[in-house]
Subunit: 659 residues, 2 copies
């Protein structure tokens, strides 16, 4: 399609569209959207599997047969010895007995054969070399009669000429390639790989590797989609990022359609403009089938056809884009390959949270899974469509169908697994306060034993103890200071775990203090100096907040005097980021967080960060492996070398707690 | 290592070895063999994961991280609008009410923003475009107060600089690549792929694509192993096939070791000579650690080290070679990548047969699985190490550990799945007589619905009825002629199914007769002519044997008069192959089998081949799909066009049988 023609067609319709800022999306249920796409593809003659291409067997792993494959040769293609030994005529051996050896002359009535050799004429059995004695004068002695066809592989034992060896629409595995070669093939007719052309659009996008300016975003949805398409068996190419002007978009779309792809993906940037273009182009040049699907996350999906080419407009938020790939694009690729939908392994898991879902939407929740006391528990991860790490961390996807309001804590949910069940079950779930060095521990655990994985969910120190009480975590990280007793954690454990036996193992001593902009522009030197400045606080239940409240009390400062006391961040790095970005003038947190962001730091105290381990977890193999790593010299050395950490007490049991 | 030196070292020791024909293998348990290899690798400093190499993210799908990866940038790296709308200061909106709109001047107290735009200075919230009215005079009207940070993606919401985004030893998925790009990476440090060099040896071997002469075998083990290694994450190269002479083998081994591979595989041909070489080379140049492993199939595995390079001698039989790859080589590749063993999904299944296992061996059985009446049943496939199709057809591998004598019929076995459980469960298990056109039906079923699969296990017509009685199959193929009533199948069903309600659906009419060598050299024209000739029979219980016995009776011929009456083949093609190879002078079977092998054929009768479908199967979705395909015009047309088949009654219900 010539770009000039496209531009003129589009300008008429889309300019007006783009100037409107109010776009109303439909909310078509997912199943209906899929059915519309299928119907349009059927009409266009593009629904069925793609035609075949002949390729060498060596290149065919993972490809899909485009026809049933029949044996060109029998295998074996002659009767052959199945053992090393001597070929004989069974009838000649009739008189052999264990007590009365029979002698057969070599070259006449017995012929040495190796496994795989053809049977010499007039022989029909093989005697194993171990059961024979050779004599000096060129004979063998045998001690038992043999049956016809003993230790012989008959012609066609494995495959017979013309027999169907592999079915059509079969994805080729290593042994399949062997079988095809074994019956005389050197090539195989496989489905052509579906070709997908990806057009990322949006003036604010920059490709990976270029440092984005303020207002620019790194375009990585095309990277995710290309990999998803490759995994599903297709091949994808992405154009350069296209500015969201009609001219640029039309030229890119025209060039793309010229290359006759099986599918075009228009990736929106985050701005509304480029999104409108896809809908506009479909309305002007083809058919707009779907504009918005009632799934969460992922709403603004566009589906249409230009001629016989399907076009999918993929939302800009990365989680939406990845789920569009998983739910809509990968199944289409598999359909074109003649494969059925890739049914994920699903498990039933108990939700640890109440989850409210929008009634009209199919809601897809990313969850972390852990097996605790023999029960599989699902903890929902962040639901924002912009949080790609929620998909990275997810062990699975829970689907809350339309017309369901959500699930209660304790309800069972069906979860499609992103990892194998054995990987899920071997994971250690740590909830509570997050310390960046827990990631270091996770690294050491993984190096120690590749099958073990540690998941951290950050819910603050108090949240961790509550999670333990509810049986939602294997252990908790905690650094709760109790001013009354001047001890860490113990009084809180007594209060929150209510006598549940557990062990307290020290993780690290770490330095807490004030995180300040570089150069400390406000000249802060102690806690009293922060009055009147914009403070960045931590969430309720965080050990650092408990510490801050304690320091305020020590200095007779009321929390109402602290501007920003209600500004809650959830991690040390979050506080540091807020200070770095000038949202706040100071915050309390770890020296390591301040230094990681290149900020100033005034140390206030060294505190103890412990791991709280219930007795029931302690006995598991996973926990024992974790403690071995924690107490190992390698980990302690590396931890102690970090600025703001001391590891001399790391791994020490504080005292048995079973109050 | 220079080849000349190798040759001289090897000649001393191996020539003697190769001249001996009696080789005694050890029988080391699998676990001990693995432990010996691990210990040797540890000593050589080659046990741990391989070092890293930096590659572009676009190439990194499926690769494994060689270090934990931290965020280089926060994502988002500035506070940005999460919605299209207007950025405002939350404090400015305090007085807005639904009943009392508040006006904010554009450009001063409200700023239009698109999703992803940075928040303008002095704003801290976004109001969605849908909740605002623009006025003519450049203001917006809002109807509710907003909280600070509403619809704002805070800097670092997804990832904060220095945060660990991915752990070490993590296999990269599409979303991982996105996350890495999103936090500022364009490349990633991944484990180098383990490099495996494969040397296929054996003078009798020819590469795929060349037509083997009598005595030559197609070498395809290297194809299987290369694909297995690629699947596990390594890369493999195979040399040309090497003659099993000391000179040729030494030169190939020397050249291979010079290229510094991580692992060398010496693939035996089927002959003993080349096998000895690997053991000899290890004894002469390095260390022979293992010579024979107590697994079945797979016995003659060799393991050793030359310098710091592990060498594995892989047995020549293809099933042995493939299982060596699965049990020994792929786990080593994964270890080098820092991955844990790939734990297959396992299920419990009931054995439909008694299985005797060698006491001292770990026995690995290939099984076909089917879900019948809610129970998962495992039927063992052919156990020969030369039958690669047993691995192609297998749904899973059952492991009968050492010191177990086997399992009884009805015993539960643990089976590692080769296909997903949903694929296993959707399969239709057909036992009984095999007709090559059942493969055609399977093809049509697969084209009709890619998720459905039909498995045929050939046990003869009577065997099929017995399998139905035992509840081991969904349906059976049967063509049993009853001379007394001159009907097909019904009397046998009454006898063997003992009143179990079932339906009889005709599959095809097909032509049976005598299969003869090309040109009919013996001048046979009717059944009486076969007296004195070598006949190729079918196994007991086969419909064709029942037919043959009937014809003998009609012609007053005693079975004792038939030479070769006891020579049993299990399929029509098997009979045709035996006649083609000159083992017999004639046999009885299908016209289609004779024509497939280019043989002569004398038609004797047209018979009816029916599908016997128990009522319990009939109601399932799978069976309904199968019947739809069977009765479809496409299938009937293609079936009817085959020589020796008529399809006019195909799909007809014979009569309800519930005697």
């Amino acid at each position: 399609m010539p770009a000039a023609w496209l531009i003129s067609r589009l300008c008429e319709s889309t300019v007006t569209l783009m100037s409107k800022r109010h776009i109303y999306l439909e909310d078509l249920p997912l199943d209906e959207a899929r059915a519309k796409l299928r119907a349009a593809l059927r009409t266009a003659g593009r629904l069925g599997p793609l035609p075949g291409e002949t390729i060498a067997l060596a290149d065919a792993l993972g490809r899909v047969t485009a026809e049933p494959v029949r044996a060109k040769l029998s295998s074996p293609h002659y009767h052959c010895a199945a053992m090393d030994g001597y070929a004989v005529a069974a009838a000649d051996t009739r008189d052999a007995r264990e007590t009365q050896a029979l002698s057969l002359r070599l070259g006449r009535r017995a012929h040495p054969v190796n496994t795989g050799d053809p049977l010499p004429d007039n022989t029909d059995a093989v005697i194993m070399i171990e059961n024979v004695d050779e004599t000096e004068d060129g004979c063998i002695l045998i001690y038992a009669a043999v049956a016809p066809w003993q230790h012989v592989r008959l012609m066609g034992e494995d495959m017979v000429t013309t027999e169907t060896v592999l079915q059509v629409n079969h994805q080729l595995r290593p042994v399949d390639l062997g079988a095809l070669a074994g019956c005389g093939h050197a090539t195989v007719l496989v489905r052509r790989k579906p070709r997908v052309a990806i057009i990322p659009t949006g003036g604010e996008l920059v490709p990976p590797g270029r440092r984005p300016e303020r207002g620019q975003l790194i375009e990585y949805n095309s990277l995710i989609l290309r990999a998803q398409i490759r995994e599903a068996g297709g091949e994808a190419s992405a154009s350069e990022i296209v500015d969201d002007t009609i001219d640029a978009l039309s030229a890119a779309l025209g060039a793309t359609l010229n290359s006759a792809p099986d599918l075009v993906l228009m990736l929106s940037g985050s701005s509304a403009g480029s999104h409108d273009f896809t809908a506009g182009a479909l309305e002007a040049l083809g058919e707009l089938l779907v504009h918005g699907i009632a799934v969460r996350p992922g709403h603004p999906v566009i589906i249409g056809m230009i001629g016989t080419t399907p076009i999918i407009g993929v939302p800009g938020y990365p989680v939406s884009a990845a789920l569009t790939g998983e739910l809509l694009i990968a199944p289409l690729i598999r359909r074109w390959l003649g494969l059925s939908r890739d049914e994920p392994v699903t498990v039933e898991a108990i939700s640890t949270r109440k989850i409210v879902s929008p009634l009209g939407d199919d809601d897809f929740l990313r969850v972390a899974l852990a097996e605790i006391d023999g029960q599989l528990l699902a903890t929902p991860l962040q639901r924002g469509a912009g949080v790609i790490t929620s998909l990275v961390q997810a062990d699975g996807l829970a689907h809350i169908p339309r017309f369901h309001e959500g699930v209660d804590r304790g309800d069972a949910m069906r979860v499609s697994l992103y990892r194998s069940l054995s990987q899920v079950k071997s994971a250690i779930m740590v909830m509570g306060s997050h310390d960046p060095m827990l990631d270091l521990l996770a690294t050491h655990l993984r190096l120690f034993s590749p099958a073990r994985r540690m998941i951290s969910v950050n819910v603050g120190s108090l949240g961790g103890l509550i999670a333990l009480r509810r049986g939602e975590a294997h252990l908790a990280g905690s650094h709760l200071f109790d001013p009354a007793t001047a001890t860490y954690n113990l009084p809180f454990i007594r209060k929150y775990l209510r006598g549940e036996p557990c062990q307290l193992v020290t993780f690290a001593q770490r330095e807490q203090g004030l995180i300040l902009p570089p150069g400390n522009p406000r000249g802060i030197s102690e806690i009293a100096d922060i009055r009147g400045l914009r403070y960045v606080n931590r969430q309720r239940g965080a050990g650092t907040r408990v510490l801050f409240d304690h320091l305020l009390e020590q200095h007779d400062i009321a929390s109402a005097e602290i501007r920003g006391y209600e500004h809650e961040e959830y991690t040390h790095l979050g506080v540091a980021a807020a200070v770095s970005d000038g949202i706040g003038d100071c915050g309390m947190g770890l020296r390591s967080a301040a230094e990681a962001m290149g900020l100033d730091f005034i140390g206030m105290t060294w505190e103890r960060f412990d791991l709280v381990i219930p007795a029931r977890s302690l006995e598991t193999e996973s926990l024992q492996a974790l403690l071995t790593v924690l107490r190992g010299a390698d980990f302690k050395r590396e931890l102690g070398a970090q600025s703001g950490y001391r590891s001399d007490e790391t791994g020490k049991t504080v005292e048995p707690v079973d109050a």
